[in-house]
């Protein structure tokens, strides 16, 4: 459990003079659910793009699944799964065609894809949808399917960028059950969310503000540390940009 699948040391990412990620340091352990929180514009997306090999750090050391984020982005891409806030399956293709497509892109063999399709459809009780196009499915089902497709190739880490946006509470709950199950299989889950109740489900969370990580611990410890009943309170206390506070907040201990 205690092996690091993501190591970030002194990560800085600049766009011109704008510093999107300002000296980030954190580790993510294998098999944990790591919540990555922060207000809009705090720099989360930039970090995820670097971790998933889409963009290169300006400076600092970043290792994902044991590979270097400067030189081994191809290797990183093979070892991660990704699901973004915008919906990521093709609406005009059927469930089966989508699975075959992504399975193929990640280099699974035909027989393995076939096996996974059967497994997946059975697990999601999806059999009757196999040959329906995605556009005909309700949003909740689509999100679950998108997640299953993102971990189809059994990656070491799966990045979920606001996976539950716009989904009803029941589906959200089911979705989190899937996340737990995935983590239990040993796949590390790196998730961003704006729902603070979801943050409570994570093993550890980090909170970003203005390009910096301002808190990183288990939900329990954070609540204790900030003397708050919920993570939402913690978040409001620390995640808002300084300029919006009427009084400067107490310095972090």
């Amino acid at each position: 459990m205690e092996t690091h699948v993501i190591t970030v040391k002194n990560l800085v990412k600049k766009f011109g003079s704008f510093v999107a990620n300002d000296n980030l340091n954190f580790e993510v352990f294998g098999g944990e659910i790591f919540g990555f929180l922060g207000a809009n514009g705090a720099g989360k997306t930039t970090t995820i793009r670097i971790l998933s090999g889409l963009s290169k750090p300006t400076s600092g050391e970043v290792k994902v699944a044991g590979f270097d984020a400067y030189r081994q982005t191809e290797q990183i891409k093979k070892n991660i799964g990704y699901m973004c806030q915008k919906f990521s399956l093709y609406e005009d293709l059927t469930v089966k065609e989508n699975i075959i497509l992504y399975g193929g892109i990640y280099g699974l063999t035909k027989s393995l894809i076939k096996e996974r399709i059967a497994e997946l459809l059975a697990k999601l009780r999806f059999q009757e949808y196999e040959n329906r196009i995605i556009a005909d499915l309700p949003l909740g089902l689509r999100q679950k399917l998108a997640f299953s497709v993102a971990v189809l190739h059994e990656p070491k880490i799966v990045f979920l960028d606001e996976p539950t946006g716009g989904v009803d509470p029941i589906t959200r709950r089911q979705f989190w059950e899937m996340i737990y199950e995935t983590a239990a299989r040993g796949i590390t889950v790196f998730v961003t969310t704006h729902y603070m109740d979801e943050a409570e489900y994570c093993d550890r969370i980090s909170i970003m503000s203005e390009g910096k990580i301002v808190a990183l611990d288990t939900p329990e410890n954070l609540k204790k540390q900030y003397n708050a009943a919920t993570i939402e309170e913690v978040f409001i206390k620390i995640a808002r940009p300084v300029s919006l506070h009427p009084h400067p907040p107490a310095p972090f201990s």
Binding site: S55, E74, K77, Y82, S88, Y90, L101, I105, G107
Partner: protein
Amino acid sequence: MKRFLGFVKKEFLHIFRDYRTLFILFGIPAAQILIFGYAVSMDIKNAGIAILDLSHDEITQKLTDKIISSGFFKRTENLLHYNDIDRVFKKGKTKAVIIFEADFGKKLVREGKASLSIIADGSEPNTATLVTNYTMAIVNDFTMELAVPALNNSIRIQPEVKMFYNPNLKSHFMFVPGVITLILILICALMTSVTITREKEFGTMEVLLVSPLRPIQIILGKVIPYFILSFINVLLILALSWLVFGLPVKGSIILLLAECMLYILMSLTLGILISTVSKNMQQAIFISLLGLMLPTILLSGFIFPIENMPKVYDYVSMILPPRYFIVIIKNIMIKGTGLMYIWKETLILIVMTLFFIGLSVRKFKIRLE
């Protein structure tokens, strides 16, 4: 490679599942060929003509018959008075009125000359010019026939005009190459730019970029299906224009197809470039249609000869790829020339293709950062 093939297959599924795309790909080219070929014909056939004969003698009767029986005109009305001219034009069916002065025949026999007026409807300048030219030709022909016995001892020069390559001056010869030029650039650029921006808009591009597929594979995977379909399109258009209009390909068909491939490739890279600069599908469609269709129709030499344009437009048209392709395709199809005569244009298209590829690769990289 297997990853890549699956990706290409998916692109075909997108195309075949979307009737609109299929229609744009195959319906519009066929419709354009038929519309341009038939409706926008520059030839005249059965143009309405009215006769105001103030003389009513044997000669005017003969000349009128000759004009009507030429096949270019049909008589709409016989007028009795000058005042009727305006009325008959306003009805719209009549394109020209032919007026024989009083005592036309007598004057012609006695004085050797008589006057005839052709009044054409100038609100349609093209038709008006054509109608007057055709009528004048017929009248000249007629006077020759009349004059031959009387004037056979004087010197006459009778020019005999022949049109090389297109003996009957059929306008399909001009339109089919033009339509191929227009359709290919429109469809290729439009389709690729739309299909790539669609992935961006739906968020699937993110997922593809995070996947082990390389960016170049993503682009190629999106473009290859359109390349194949556009090529089939060329074959269809050529077959259609051959079957319907009897338009032959005089030169080497292999050279023609190779040049078409080059042009398709150029248009596809242009489409990629458009997709890298447009934020959404509407913008991509807008740029493709407005930025490509109008300049191609107006400035490429498709309809209006570049030689007759003001110099400024001539320079502007130099950056338009269709200008060069029209020259190439007309040369091969109608004149039957070989690569010897069109290598310059071909080279320009190759350079443009490389330029667009280079530019879009750079833009694509910047966007990724």
